[in-house]
């Protein structure tokens, strides 16, 4: 980030030097733009600046385009990157040069937005910048912007632009930006290539480089502008190859989506399965514990609303577990405790509780809310060209893996787990063996509800927080529990992943709605062969 910033400025300084002659005529328009007598003057000034294409004005234009142009002591300035914890920004000048601003002691100047005067340029005027936006965006310190700019430059035939492009590409540092920059260059060269050999060479280069638009470019070239059929066919051939490669990547993307959906389902089903095993009941309020976890995250975000970056999320992870767990504990103490080994009654009661919880949440929070994605998890990992794996989903997958592992260890490698499993199967006898069934039941409920809360916290990364969010996932997660076989950890995992994958694969063929119907029917058929889930108990214990 820092590097690219520096790089951007160096480039800009270079340009400023190059264009110092043109600067004189531009300064007038800049002044008009910053302090317009009337709207039409401003519009005219922008129009002129666009027509002139003076690199020295690019930073200014860029600031206008980003709606980040401010005035400070009559200097045109803009803000840098993200704000500090106190919502203050670093600043730099945009015209006539791009010097960063310092305070009297020589440290970078930090100001909040309210201390700056916003220069309001109407969208109509901003739209005037569109034609040259790619050009000035080439100098943006933001790689994402540059990528976009490169992409938009392919059509330009202007030699001056080509020169700038070549220049910028030669200094490009960002991997993705470089690729797309190269593509633009190759494309221009391809279009100007005069013989078959060079044309083919450039086609190869484009294909090898394989950036976003490669196949579209090659197809367009092949079906129109190519100078002979040979190269045209060659280009189309290459485009087809790229397409099929792309299709393969798409498959991987689908698998990843399946994995991520599966992890979410597993995370929810995990708690459900534990609690189910204990109370022997369909815990209708499980989805609501998830909702509680999500609202906990939301509340913590509100508390942390000023600064502290991603800390709010890191803190909410354990906290949502604890809060939801505690709610589960209270519920267990007040209601479920009286209902062990009465599955029907607990079904009813948990349904009642879920109604109460949903309406309570609605009264407190009222409406649709959502949690900010922490910075660390925003965006995605470019695993390969055309294959972005969002960080938030990677995080959820990892979280699920960790929780599954911990749950496994807890259940099967500790004394607590042994007691939990004993209590789930035979409360009275466990008590006779010295197991404090009440405490164990409470702990189990705590863990089960806590896991739901954690799932809720994780889901804020991809969805919103609404009072009845629990309902969205609950049927699916019950399906996971059931297809996996009730109370079977391994079954839950396999069926969660299975349902995730199948959903995503069927979604690729059918529309989302039919995809879902298809999955449900598939599960029904599957249960024909495995009426007790993936990993049924064998032998005599299977009978109950």
């Amino acid at each position: 980030m820092k590097n690219s910033l520096k790089f951007g400025w160096i480039l800009l300084l270079l340009l400023v030097a190059m264009a110092s002659r043109a600067q004189d005529s531009s300064s007038l328009y800049v002044a008009q733009l910053l302090h317009p007598q009337s709207d039409s003057v401003r519009t005219h000034a922008i129009g002129r600046l666009v027509a002139l294409r003076i690199p020295a004005t690019f930073p200014l234009l860029m600031a206008i385009n980003d709606k980040k142009l401010y005035l400070l002591d009559n200097q045109a300035i803009t803000i840098d990157g993200k704000p500090s914890d106190e919502e203050k920004y670093r600043l730099h000048r945009v015209y006539p040069d791009t010097r960063p601003l310092h305070n009297s002691s020589g440290d970078p100047l930090l100001l909040s937005l309210s201390q700056l005067k916003t220069v309001d340029i109407p969208r109509a005027d901003r739209l005037l910048l569109l034609p040259i936006a790619p050009l000035f965006n080439l100098y943006s310190p933001d790689a994402q912007k540059r990528i976009q700019a490169y992409g938009q430059l392919t059509d330009l035939q202007d030699p001056q632009v080509q020169k700038i492009l070549a220049d910028v590409v030669s200094k490009e540092t960002d991997y993705n930006a470089l690729r797309i920059g190269k593509e633009s260059l190759y494309a221009i060269q391809l279009h100007t290539a005069k013989n078959e050999a060079t044309a083919k060479a450039y086609i190869d280069s484009i294909a090898r480089n394989w950036s976003d638009n490669a196949s579209a470019l090659l197809t367009a070239y092949g079906s129109g502008k190519a100078f002979n059929t040979n190269t045209a066919n060659y280009a189309i051939e290459k485009a087809k190859q790229l397409e099929s490669k792309y299709d393969n990547l798409q498959r991987i993307q689908n698998l990843f989506s399946g994995l991520s959906l599966g992890s979410i389902l597993i995370l929810i089903a995990l708690g459900l399965s534990i609690v189910y095993g204990l109370a022997g009941v369909i815990n209708m309020a499980h989805g609501e514990f998830m909702m509680i976890g999500a609202y906990t995250t939301y509340c913590i975000q509100m508390l942390f609303s000023r600064g502290y970056g991603d800390w709010f999320f890191i803190i909410s992870l354990p906290l949502s577990f604890i809060v939801a767990g505690l709610m589960g504990l209270i519920l267990e103490r007040l209601v479920i405790r009286h209902l062990y080994s009465k599955p029907l009654e607990s079904l009813l009661a948990t349904w009642g509780i879920s109604l109460i919880l949903v309406q309570t949440a609605r009264l407190i929070f009222g409406d649709l809310t959502a949690v900010k994605t922490p910075q660390l998890l925003a965006g995605g990992w470019q695993a390969a060209p055309h294959l972005t794996l969002p960080y938030n989903r990677i995080f959820i997958i990892a979280l699920t893996a960790v929780m599954v592992l911990l749950t496994y260890l807890m259940l099967f490698k500790t004394k607590l787990g042994l007691q939990i499993r004993a209590v789930t199967q035979n409360r009275q006898m466990s008590a006779c063996l010295g197991v404090e069934t009440r405490r164990i039941a409470a702990v189990t409920f705590f863990i089960g509800s806590g896991l739901a809360g954690l799932a809720g916290c994780a889901i804020t990364l991809i969805g919103n927080v609404v009072p009845d969010m629990g309902q969205t996932y609950i049927v699916d997660s019950f399906l996971v529990v059931v297809t996996g076989g009730v109370g079977k950890l391994a079954g839950t995992i396999v069926s969660g992943l299975g349902i995730g994958f199948f959903t995503k694969i069927s979604e690729a063929f059918f529309q989302a709605v039919y995809g879902k119907v298809f999955i449900l029917l598939f599960i029904m058929l599957f249960m024909q062969y495995k009426p007790k889930g993936l990993f049924p108990d064998k032998g005599r214990i299977a009978e109950e």
Binding site: K415, L418, Q425, Q428, M429, A431, C432, L433, G434, I541
Partner: protein, 240 residues
């Protein structure tokens, strides 16, 4: 020492207990000596199992008291009873079906006074060799008799002072039933264990009993020392 000998380890006084509306124990009184095997006998459905369940705390006491080691345990919950040294082998085995044999045994350790106690595997497998081969098998998959053996082993693991046995030989092959008898006597002798045995098979009972009680319709109707326990004397109580 003398004092310990005379004070009963368990005494049940005028116990009344019921399942919902139907009262089963109607003033049961019983007292058993430390280091002895006391047997409760009686026809089907007179409330023997109910008595053990009530002692264990699985059924609330409506009236009367239960004293163990001079401590009133009428009201304390089952798991505490287990922790102070009462172990229970219920009728119907009550093995935790989906836990392996080994895990079932481990559960027995929870009530052990010593938190760090290890499973006395050697001893157990010596008594019940079959359990060794089936260590990893789910308890619920064992045959009836194997489960019974497991239930007894599990109770012994906690190193109890009082053992409640509800028809322990039910479904067990004769040789092992025999063995169980000798083991009980050995434990009583060597470790000072006290045993409250519910048994219907007079053969087995006569062989191990120090003192017997005879129960009918929720009350003790007769008791006496081992020497009095003979077929003739009992016959009139067994038949209506």
């Amino acid at each position: 020492m003398n004092h310990a000998y005379t004070a009963p380890i368990l005494s049940v006084n005028q116990l009344v207990a019921a399942y919902g509306q139907s009262t089963i124990l109607r003033g049961t009184t019983l007292s058993m000596q430390k280091g002895a095997i006391t047997t409760v006998m009686g026809r089907n459905g007179v409330g023997k199992t109910t008595l053990l369940k009530t002692i264990m705390g699985l059924l609330p006491v409506q009236e009367g008291t239960i004293t163990f080691n001079n401590q009133d345990i009428t009201k304390i919950p089952s798991h505490k009873k287990a922790k102070i040294g009462i172990a229970y082998v219920p009728q119907g085995r009550e093995i935790i079906p989906k836990l392996s044999v080994y895990e079932n045994l481990q559960l027995g350790l929870i009530a052990h006074a010593d938190k760090n106690a290890k499973l006395p595997e050697e001893e157990i497998y010596h008594l019940f060799p079959i359990l060794k081969d089936f260590r990893k098998r789910a308890g619920g998959n064992l045959s009836g008799g194997q489960q019974q053996q497991l239930a007894i082993a599990r109770a012994l693991v906690s190193n109890p002072t009082l053992l409640l046995l509800d028809e322990p030989t039910e479904g067990i092959q004769p040789s092992i039933a025999q063995e169980i008898g000798s083991i009980l006597q050995k434990l009583v002798k060597e470790k000072g264990l006290s045993v409250l045995l519910v048994e219907q098979k007079i053969d087995f009972a006569t062989q191990v009993t120090d003192h017997y009680y005879f129960m009918d319709r929720g009350k003790m109707v007769m008791d006496g020392g081992a020497e009095e326990l003979n077929h003739k004397a009992l016959e009139k109580y067994i038949s209506v």
